[in-house]
């Protein structure tokens, strides 16, 4: 049986791991390669690295970092942040990344999703969607949740699937950083709208939250950052608890 995945997410700035609370107030949480190795040896099913560096030099360093990570870990990983060209993706995949995650740029240039799927296959194209509930509906937000669009979440999700995305990484801006649990209701609906795997992100604070998100909807993976980086939830503990509660989990 296919297992539910637990995915620690590492935000990378200038080759260091940082975690923002509500996407601001960055706190240094360590060396990404060391952290990646620690997670891969302690039960992470996959890792996501988000590059939040703005400079060109930083981007080049990020490709080198992907190569370093690939040398050092034996589980799959996704990289995202600032990806805008086929060449960006090519170099990251050649450095050993398994998937790339695109967000704002896909909203501005939806054809980019088709291009990536055509060039590299849907299996490596993750479309990240940040959304927030405003004016009685869920809307897509850009630039790390700062800029609202008029695009409705469910319509966009359907569109990215049709354009060839292989997976959706969904973050509820209303839940991210709160540690009050994942956005189970909207995730449940999202899983009915699309037929590709969904990674839930934003809101993890306790073990029960992971249980809730896997129980309530047809969600394939759950992602979290600071609860893992600051060891508020131990990966192994989490996975044992979930398995004991009949969630299919790889131990």
């Amino acid at each position: 049986m296919l297992a539910k995945r637990i995915i620690p997410c590492l935000d990378i700035k200038d080759s260091r791991t940082v975690k923002g609370v509500n996407f601001v107030d960055l706190v240094d949480a360590g060396d990404p390669v060391e952290l990646a190795r620690y997670y891969s040896e302690n039960g992470a099913d996959e890792l996501v690295f988000l590059d939040i560096t703005a400079t060109k030099e930083g981007r080049r360093a990020f490709a080198k970092l992907a190569d370093d990570i690939s040398r050092n870990i034996n589980i799959p990983f996704t990289v995202g942040g600032g990806i805008k060209t086929i060449e960006d993706v090519d170099i990251l995949l050649k450095s050993g990344a398994d998937k790339v995650s695109i967000n704002s740029y896909a909203v501005k240039n939806p054809n980019f999703i088709n291009e990536l799927a055509m060039n590299f296959g849907s299996q490596c194209v993750v479309v990240a969607i940040d959304a927030k509930y405003v004016d009685n509906d869920w809307f897509v937000f850009l630039v790390g949740g700062r800029v609202k669009t008029n695009i409705k979440l469910f319509e966009w999700a359907k569109e990215v699937e049709e354009r060839g995305a292989g997976e959706i990484l969904f973050t509820s801006m209303d839940h991210d950083g709160t540690k009050n649990g994942f956005a189970c209701h909207v995730l449940e609906k999202l899983s009915k709208v699309v037929n590709i795997p969904i990674i839930a992100s934003g809101g993890a604070g306790k073990i029960e939250h992971f249980y809730d998100v896997f129980k309530s909807g047809n969600i394939d993976a759950a992602l979290a950052a600071s609860v893992f980086h600051f060891n508020e939830i131990g990966l192994n503990n989490l996975k044992i608890e979930l398995k004991n509660n009949n969630i299919p989990i790889r131990l």
Binding site: M1, S95, C124, A221
Partner: protein, 193 residues
């Protein structure tokens, strides 16, 4: 020992190279026929689309070389699928080493299947010291049905082949290079057997 990793521009060959390195082996990324033919073991990786991958093999003349190889060959993911007769993906004629057609998962399932699934009914030395129902990492939309050459199965809606073997050719649908320490055992078994 010389291990050639066939590099034909499809997929993530670097990960396979690094995985071998962690096991203390040097794999050579190559598309040169002479280097491939003279290697002791050959790894045939691949991710992406079947028809574009076949075109890339053809442009390098590798479609004729691979079926003729006499050394142990390990096809990974798309590499395994390309060793079959035909793939529904792009209606593609493949290498015809295994007599079977590659099919697409039913649309009632989430496609692609992404993640860790169990392998069972394990046969062959490739799975030496791997227990039944061990988890391996898979990413795919198409699958090889159960055939006479099946040496491991997985279930996603239906049972399908997660590994096949015929003479010197072995194929695995999962990614041993991304399947943690258990995946490393599989690679080690391929290298040492």
């Amino acid at each position: 020992m010389k291990i050639a990793i066939i590099d034909y521009g499809a997929g993530n060959t670097q990960s396979v190279k690094y995985a071998l390195k962690r096991l203390g082996c040097n794999g050579v990324l190559t598309s040169e026929k002479e280097v491939i033919s003279s290697a002791d073991k050959i790894i045939f990786p691949g991710v992406g689309h079947a028809s574009s991958a076949m075109n890339k093999l053809k442009s390098k003349g590798l479609d004729l070389l691979i079926p003729e190889l006499k050394q142990p060959v390990l096809g990974i993911c798309l590499g395994m699928q390309l060793m079959c007769s035909f793939s529904d993906e792009g209606k593609t004629d493949c290498l015809k080493i295994f007599d079977c057609n590659v099919k697409r998962f039913n649309n009632s399932l989430k496609v692609p299947q992404i993640g860790w699934n169990t392998v069972f009914d394990l046969r062959a030395n490739l799975f030496h010291s791997i227990i039944e129902n061990e988890y391996m990492y898979l990413v795919h939309s198409y699958y090889v049905p159960i055939i006479i050459d099946t040496i491991a199965k997985s279930n996603y809606g239906i049972n399908y082949s997660s590994a096949i073997k015929k003479n010197n050719f072995t194929g695995v649908q999962f990614h041993p290079e991304k399947s943690g320490s258990k995946g490393e055992v599989i690679l080690k078994n391929f290298i040492n057997n």
